[in-house]
Symmetry: D2
Subunit: 360 residues, 4 copies
């Protein structure tokens, strides 16, 4: 039976409806936003833009939406709306942000264009920034570390999926001062093919991409900038592509300077997450699913976080798993928008996931 939360959300729907459009609706992230908005009790889809597919039904690109009447609009035909979700390639939103705010009161950008706080960071990690005056205004979309600032925000910057998984795994260790920023941290991330987007190309073709454990971005991954910004320390970061579609799994190897017990860790993680609707702990126990796994959260906005303590070399191993399309992108964006707009936090994000499910 649906929870009280869901009932009260449904009640809210009667009194409050917010219009929302998606810029860049044919990509994987855009499609995921459309799916979430179609099922959202308070947000009503106005438009989904696409240069390449204008005029076609959204179901022509995203099979689960085959039942929808919505058709893609030309970007030039974008109309006024309450909230604009922008799912365009990096660099597009910073060039069009003035226009976006002419159209909408609130902009939720899912690219990297507003994640970092200073122009200097964009100079270092990206190709500079064309609208640096907006950087201070933007709020990072991850509620677990930025909820207070998201309330009422009008420019929201969706976090990177690998950064999201990493930050959720490590944040409690900093918040509870088990780490102070001087420790060596190694983060090894495994990601699915949806992270590469809908484009295709030789490396992501099925014969070349299927069954891989493929190092990519072995050094210098741009998400390091976000992680450093929020944790206050740099991490040694490496990604591997593996054979799944949805999912990011981050394993962090941390070497605390002082003694740490399992009790200390449980205290830190419970303290950080016990009231969070979209983080759950998976740390040991019995059965098949003992630690965080992308399969266990596929299709959902849930993050799983867990840890193990290695006494032999004074190491904490922290695991975190998300669906990169949901908690790592579109789901996080809707969650942040719910907070910014004063809606029920979990509205539209209640799907609990499937079991069994493969290559999530």
């Amino acid at each position: 039976m649906a929870t009280e939360t869901a009932d009260s959300t449904a009640d809210a729907a009667a009194s409050e409806t917010v219009t929302a459009s998606v810029v860049g609706g044919t990509g994987f992230t855009g499609g995921e936003l459309l799916r979430l908005l179609e099922g959202h009790p308070n947000l009503e889809i106005s438009q989904a833009t696409s240069r390449s597919a204008a005029g076609k039904s959204v179901g022509s690109k995203h099979p689960p939406l085959r039942g929808s009447d919505l058709r893609f609009s030309e970007p030039a035909d974008l109309e006024s709306v309450d909230v604009l979700f922008t799912a365009t390639p990096h660099g597009v939103s910073m060039d069009q942000i003035d226009h976006f705010f002419e159209v909408a009161d609130t902009v939720v950008d899912l690219s990297a264009d507003f994640r970092l706080e200073t122009e200097a960071q964009y100079d270092e990690w990206y190709d500079g920034h064309s609208a640096p005056e907006y950087l201070e205004r933007a709020e990072y979309a991850l509620p677990e570390i930025n909820r207070d600032n998201l309330a009422g925000a009008d420019l929201i910057a969706g976090g990177g999926c690998n950064a999201t998984a990493t930050i959720l795994g490590l944040y409690p260790l900093f918040e509870h001062e088990i780490l102070d920023g001087d420790e060596q941290i190694v983060v090894d991330v495994k990601v699915g093919s949806s992270e590469g987007g809908a484009g295709g190309g030789e490396a992501s073709s099925h014969p070349e991409r299927s069954g891989v454990v493929r190092p990519y971005a072995p050094t210098g991954h741009r998400h390091e900038a976000e992680i450093e910004q929020f944790l206050g320390t740099s991490v040694a970061f490496t990604c591997h592509a593996v054979d799944m579609i949805r999912g990011a799994s981050a394993t962090a190897h941390v070497f605390p300077s002082g003694p740490v017990s399992k009790g200390d860790l449980w205290k830190a993680y419970r303290g950080a997450y016990e009231d969070e609707p979209f983080v759950r702990m998976a740390a040991g126990g019995s059965g098949v699913y003992r630690y965080p796994e992308p399969k266990a959260v596929a299709g959902t906005n849930m993050a799983e976080v867990g840890f193990e303590l290695d006494p032999s070399n004074k190491r904490i191993v922290v695991f975190s798993a998300i669906d990169n399309m949901m908690k790592g992108s579109a789901g996080q964006a809707v969650h942040a928008a719910n907070i910014a707009l004063g809606l029920e936090e979990t509205a539209g994000l209640e799907f609990t996931g499937l079991h069994p499910v493969g290559a999530p």
Copy 2:
């Protein structure tokens, strides 16, 4: 934004609550039932029984339910309830059906125990039947061919997943008299590994099962009995295991005796399904997903049906795709229960599916 249907369903929840228990909660089908019941606006879970896991949380077996407080009960502790869903191995329900009706007003059985109409059929296809007096009382759970009889039914027999896919694909051809039962029909089904259940074993171990195209039940598959019962003709039926987890795809090759046009076919299929909430057509068109695919319906209660006409050898090729755990089992059961209980048909079954998604 949620549809009117969903809103009115939520309204109904206030006035009407039905208690439901699941017998056999640790298997894949039992877990899927629990997931659906957890999100159902009108059904409230009372108990989930399990011999092997009594006392453990349902989330220990089914990761998406990790947030639930429910624990498995001993089968002997089954309490009175409005509706009982039984997800036990074939043969168990027929032995316990008297007891089930002592506990519940309505029984929805997901095994094969009440699918066939006569004791003779059970003698032919199974190992006989221990409670044949119930066979006439049972109603087959597939609403698209049996909706009228499901209203008010108190014993509902969930259909076999391969039979469901096949019947949904072929039924309109019989209903609209394009076929009369004398034609040659070949059905070639591809199914995922969840159909084998949670047990394991060498043939279903990952190294042996991954990447297969494996003929199984090349002849004599028991689902033939159901298909024959509802279509009125036997079919030449063969199954193949392929590398997916959820999903069944049936391809029927049909050789009508007289001339048939594409217009005739569209008329038959639209006539049969245009008002059905859980069947949609996918027959040609452009893009990646032109015909029915299990991926496109993974996690949902939707069936996709489509066809192509082969003029060179006077053949109709009919494709149908379902999620075997949903439309082929637990979803179908909830759909049928909704009808039997007078609830909104689509209650608890609104999830639209994911894109992209792999090995559904």
Copy 3:
């Protein structure tokens, strides 16, 4: 220990060396040819041409060849050679066949350009033919049905992979007159993603292609022409893309007009294949692998063929499985070339395959 055959082949290597080049070396089939030629005791690679990768090492495209010193040549720099293997897109070879014979004594073409016997067939199934005068000269590469004609042939036409699987499955039924050509035959083929070639594109991108059971070419597949040519009857033919890389599995449903016993079938298949080095029977028995499976022959030139008899509807179900890159393409081509050149038939094709192995 290596068999006598392999030893005598190795002996032959000392006295006889044949030079061979590959036209179109960057594609999957071209790479497979290079791999086979590198390990062949009698054939010595001279050149591998590529428009796009000229100058690069063959290992840059085909990781297993990273140890090779060979670099791709410009097509214009093609030099004289004994045997030319052409692995170009359909239509290229027919345009260049005069030139190919200026360069080489023997041409083995892996495209569809010389598979059919008459210009009329190319008009019907393809876009006509630009060098019809060569059609009569070409010999179909499948030794099991055309060995005698391959000896001494100078133009060899590699068979289509789906046609090869189908013909190998059905041929004994015609040869032993269990079928006479008037029967209804349905062939349902499942193929891996390597069949689509190295190009990529949205439909073959990993997120869209992974986990599929996707009907393609539901009617009118061009391989029907080859099948009809060699079996003397048309078949109702449909293909499905499934989640594997290498492999084609054909299931044929056949309805003989008269009574047939399992003994008749064994006699027909044993008679056809007991002396064939690259066909083995898999028809029932115990264990995990009871019928033909692409996994069981992945990476090898072996075809598995098996059958089952369905007494209830007088049907023979015939299964056949090959590696589409080997027996369905490059392996078949080398086998045919061995015969044409008077070499040991199995030379260079001895690899027995792997167990376990996935998504072959």
Copy 4:
């Protein structure tokens, strides 16, 4: 064309034949040994023992061997032989080692029973040792670090697959004194499902195992003992199960105390491996396969090793990839046996691998 090496090996076959038996022939490793021995020019299979499958053909368990006449023997019927390969569960060989040496002159054990040098290590990492007097006699099978000692050895201990991948990746850094043993080293390994063996079980069933990124042995993995023994330092070691069948990929994150250049690294790795027949470098470059990948070595005895330098946090990232069944087990064992017996090192191990190939 086959290389000179292969020719001379074939020549050797005439003059020298060694008999070999496999104890434990039904498991994955036992099957791989049988496959390699069948194709080996100098080793002739005498027996393959199996308690559960005695009397059955080896092809009944391992499809690629369906052409073989060999049948499994009862372990009690083991006959005298030159070389015995033992592929039994850990603990069996130490109990039977006296008997094995009664039967054979040379024993190659693929379990963990003779990998470690001292009884104390077995007390710490395993459940003690029942034949510690053999420990000093045993030689570790990895030729790249132990070739000289393998010549003439009569007890060879096959290395662990994860240890093999890790040692091959890190060894040059120690040998060339880029590391001295005081540095922090994190090793994150991804492995396929064949590592779990042929047994099955719920966690390794296809529905639960497919599509995973699953932490296992997050701390305390027994292969740490081997790594420490050969590198002289402990490593922080964590394994993840991913969706492939064959393959192990190790990523080591190393923090050298002093400055290191790419040139230094190339010098170290080229120095260590340029003459090795079964190690090749993959470090950057262009194309799809830039770093070591299990797919690129699937089915072969090759290891790929590569690295990247991360100047921002003074880190060396080292990648290594092997087929866990070959270089990580059976292939390594045959390689070591070749050396011990004075045969051509590469005999029986020439297969170069497939492209494309999936879930290796």
